[in-house]
C-alpha cells in the first residue's frame, strides 16, 4: 500500500535531506555538549570515588581541598583526629595526609618542551589518596619516604602519572623547579577539564609544590566497620565534643565533597552550555517548523484538493505530523550516530551517556514535533475551495 505521506516526502527529498541534516547536526551538538558536561561530572567524581575516603578534613571555611586553599599541620591535627574519631574511624587505615595542588609541570614530548596543566597529588604509600601497585598500567610506585621525617632529609623525587600526560617511564618532568622522574603510569586518573594527576610521595609533594613546608592540604579518614561515613563526619564535626570544638576545621563526606566539586567546576560554569543546549533545541524546532510551514504553504492546493475530495482535518494533521515525525526521528538518530562517532575524536573528554542520549533524542523529536505542529495546524486551515483555482 502506498503511504502517501511518504511519497510526498520522497517527492520533496532534497528539502527533506537538508532538514534531516540540520536536525542531525543540532542533535549531535546537543549530545556532545551534554557529553562534555557528563565528562566533567565523571572527572569531578573520579578521584574522590577512587580514593574511597569517608571523611575529608580541611581548614574551616576554606571550601575544601578541591576548590579552596587549606593548609593543616599533621603534627597538630593527626593526634586530635585519632582521639576524636576513636570508635567510629577505621584505626587500621588511620589518618591519611594528602596534598592536592594544581601545578604547571614542564614536560618534554616528542623532543619539544612545554608547560602543561596537572594536579600534583601527594600521599603516603599504603594510605588513602593514590594508586597502589595493582592500579598501575606499567612501571612501579615511587620510593616512599620514611614514616618519621624532617625537612632536611633527602627525598626521592619520583612520580606516577596519568598516561594522558604523554610521558614515558624514565622521563623527567619539572615541577616547581625540581626534576621529577616518572616511574609508573596509571590510566583514567584525571581531574576536571582533562587535568592529569601526578602522584608523588607526600614528602616529595611538599618539597616540590609547598616549598618543603611540612604541612598538608587535607586529611582523609575511613569509617570503622559498622559505622557510616555520616556518623564519622558527624562525630568529627560536632562543635561541642568533636574535632571542631578544638580546631578550626570542617569535615565533609565524599558525597559532599563531590557536590562541592560539581557545583564549582561543572554546574556553575556549565550554565552557559545548558543555555546553549536549550537554544539548539529551539533552533531544531524552528528549522523543522519553518521548513514544514514553507512546505505546507507550497502545497496548499494539494491539501485543498485532498480536503475537497473528503480528507478531514485528522487526515491532513496526521499526514503532516507523520512527515515531521519521520524527518525528526531520522535526523535525531543520525545526530546520535554522529555524536558517538565524533565523541572520541573530540579534543576534550566527552562521555555520551546512552540513557541521556535517549532522553535527548525524545526531547529533540518532541521539540521538532512542536515546531511542525504549527505547519500541521496551518494545513488544516486550508480552504478546499482552493481546488477550484489554479494549477498544482
Amino acid at each position: 500500500m502506498p503511504r502517501f505521506w511518504l511519497r510526498d516526502l520522497y517527492y520533496r527529498r532534497l528539502r527533506v535531506v537538508l532538514t534531516v541534516l540540520g536536525v542531525a547536526l543540532l542533535s549531535m551538538l546537543i549530545l556532545l555538549l551534554g557529553g562534555i558536561m557528563n565528562g566533567l561530572r565523571w572527572q569531578a567524581q573520579r578521584y574522590v570515588r577512587f580514593v574511597g575516603a569517608d571523611a575529608w578534613i580541611s581548614k574551616e571555611r576554606s571550601g575544601g581541598v578541591f576548590v579552596g586553599f587549606t593548609l593543616l599541620d599533621p603534627e597538630d591535627v593527626v593526634p586530635l583526629v585519632q582521639a576524636f574519631g576513636r570508635g567510629v574511624m577505621d584505626e587500621r587505615v588511620g589518618v591519611s595526609p594528602l596534598i592536592f595542588a594544581h601545578a604547571r609541570p614542564v614536560v618534554t614530548i616528542g623532543g619539544v618542551e612545554r608547560q602543561v596543566k596537572a594536579v600534583v597529588v601527594g600521599y603516603r604509600a599504603g594510605k588513602l589518596g593514590g594508586p597502589s601497585h595493582r592500579d598501575l598500567v606499567r612501571g612501579r610506585l615511587f620510593v616512599p619516604s620514611p614514616e618519621v621525617y624532617s625537612p632536611e632529609q633527602r627525598v626521592e623525587l619520583e612520580a606516577v602519572v596519568d598516561e594522558s600526560l604523554g610521558v614515558e617511564i624514565g622521563q623527567s618532568i619539572e615541577i616547581g623547579g625540581y626534576a621529577v622522574t616518572v616511574v609508573g603510569i596509571v590510566r583514567d586518573m584525571m581531574f576536571v577539564f582533562d587535568t592529569p594527576l601526578i602522584f608523588m610521595d607526600i614528602r616529595a609533594a611538599q618539597e616540590t609544590v609547598l616549598e618543603n613546608v611540612l604541612y598538608v592540604n587535607t586529611f582523609l579518614v575511613k569509617a570503622a566497620p559498622g559505622h557510616t561515613a555520616e556518623e564519622l563526619v558527624a562525630r568529627l564535626n560536632d562543635p561541642d565534643r568533636g574535632l571542631r570544638s578544638v580546631r578550626a576545621v570542617e569535615v565533609h563526606t565524599s558525597e559532599e565533597t563531590i557536590e562541592t566539586i560539581l557545583t564549582n567546576y561543572v554546574t556553575e560554569p556549565m550554565r552557559g552550555v545548558q543555555f546553549l543546549r536549550v537554544m539548539l533545541w529551539l533552533t531544531a524546532a524552528l528549522i523543522v517548523g519553518m521548513i514544514s510551514y514553507v512546505t505546507t504553504m507550497e502545497k496548499t492546493q494539494e491539501l485543498g484538493v485532498m480536503k475537497a475530495i473528503g480528507a478531514d482535518n485528522r487526515y491532513v494533521l496526521q499526514m503532516v505530523l507523520l512527515q515531521v515525525l519521520l524527518t525528526s526521528v531520522v535526523g535525531v538518530a543520525l545526530g546520535v550516530a554522529l555524536a558517538l562517532i565524533a565523541a572520541p575524536a573530540f579534543p576534550i573528554f566527552v562521555l555520551v551517556d546512552p540513557l541521556e542520549g535517549l532522553t535527548v533524542s525524545l526531547l529533540s523529536v518532541l521539540m521538532c514535533l512542536l515546531g511542525g505542529s504549527f505547519a500541521a495546524w496551518r494545513a488544516t486551515r486550508v480552504d478546499p475551495m482552493i481546488a477550484f483555482r489554479g494549477e498544482l
Partner: protein, 248 residues
C-alpha cells in the same frame, strides 16, 4: 425519479459592506437521481460557487442544501468532509492530480481518504481506470499523461467512492474538441454504468446535446432551463415554470 440534491434559497455573499458581492442569489435547485445537468453562463455568474455550495465545500450565507435526503451540516463544518467523501465526487478544471503519484495512486488516494486501503483499494482503483480506458497508463505520473488522460484519471478519482452526485467544473476547458467529445462519451458511459447523477459546469455549447437539462445562470441566479431532448426552454420568470419539478 427522486431528487438527490436540492438547494433551497441558496445564497452566497463574498466580502462585507459596500464590497459585498452576491455570487449566488437565492437559488432554488433540485436535481434528480441519474440526471446529467449542465450549468452554463458567463464567467463569474456563480456556476462554480453553486456546485461548491451543493457539494458541501462552501458554506452558504443563506439557505440550505439537502443531499441524498440529508441536510448538509454547514453549522458543523467538521462533519462536511464525510459528506464529501461518501456522497460527492469532484472533477476540477485543472485536473488537480497529485504530481508525485501515479494515475493508480491518485485514484487510490481518494479511497485512502475514505479508509479503503491495501489490495481492495488497488483493485478498485485499477478497475475504475480500466473503465475510463486507462488500464495501460496505471503507473504513469500526471506529467506523463495528456490533458484528456489526466481528466479521465480525475473522473476515476471522483468516482472512486461511488458518489451519489458527481460535480465537474469545466472538465473540458483544457481539452481540445476531440478530447472533449471523448470525455463526454466517457461521462455518458459512466453515468449508465454507475447510475451517477452528474452536474457539469461548462461554457461549451457543443456539449449541450449530451445533457438532460441545461440551467443557465446570470448574476448568481438560474434564469433559464433547457431540456434538449424535449426541445423545451423555460424562463425562470415564466409563470408556467412550475411544470418543471427542478425549478420551484
Amino acid at each position: 425519479m427522486s431528487v438527490v440534491v436540492e438547494g433551497i434559497g441558496v445564497t452566497r455573499y463574498f466580502g462585507m459592506g459596500e464590497a459585498r458581492v452576491t455570487a449566488v442569489d437565492h437559488v432554488d435547485i433540485a436535481i434528480e437521481s441519474g440526471e446529467l445537468v449542465m450549468l452554463m453562463g458567463d464567467s463569474g455568474c456563480g456556476k462554480t460557487t453553486l456546485i461548491s455550495l451543493l457539494g458541501g465545500i462552501l458554506t452558504p450565507s443563506e439557505g440550505k442544501v439537502i443531499l441524498d435526503g440529508e441536510e448538509l451540516p454547514f453549522h458543523r463544518p467538521a462533519l462536511l468532509p464525510r459528506v464529501r467523501r461518501e456522497k460527492v465526487g469532484f472533477v476540477f478544471q485543472m485536473f488537480h492530480l497529485i504530481p508525485y503519484l501515479t494515475a493508480l495512486e491518485n485514484v487510490m488516494l481518494a479511497l485512502d481518504i475514505a479508509g479503503v486501503r491495501g489490495a481492495e483499494a488497488r483493485r478498485r482503483a485499477a478497475e475504475l481506470l480500466d473503465r475510463v480506458g486507462l488500464s495501460h497508463r496505471l503507473h504513469h505520473r500526471p506529467a506523463q499523461l495528456s490533458g484528456g488522460e489526466k481528466q479521465r484519471v480525475s473522473f476515476a478519482r471522483a468516482l472512486a467512492n461511488r458518489p451519489k452526485v458527481l460535480f465537474a467544473d469545466e472538465p473540458t476547458a483544457n481539452l481540445d474538441s476531440r478530447q472533449s467529445e471523448n470525455l463526454l462519451e466517457l461521462v455518458r458511459e459512466l453515468r449508465e454504468q454507475h447510475a451517477t447523477t452528474i452536474v457539469i459546469v461548462t461554457h461549451h455549447e457543443s456539449l449541450k446535446p449530451h445533457a438532460d437539462r441545461i440551467l443557465h445562470m446570470r448574476d448568481g441566479r438560474i434564469v433559464q432551463e433547457e431540456r434538449p431532448a424535449e426541445n423545451e426552454v423555460a424562463s425562470i420568470d415564466d409563470p408556467e415554470k412550475r411544470e418543471y419539478p427542478s425549478l420551484r
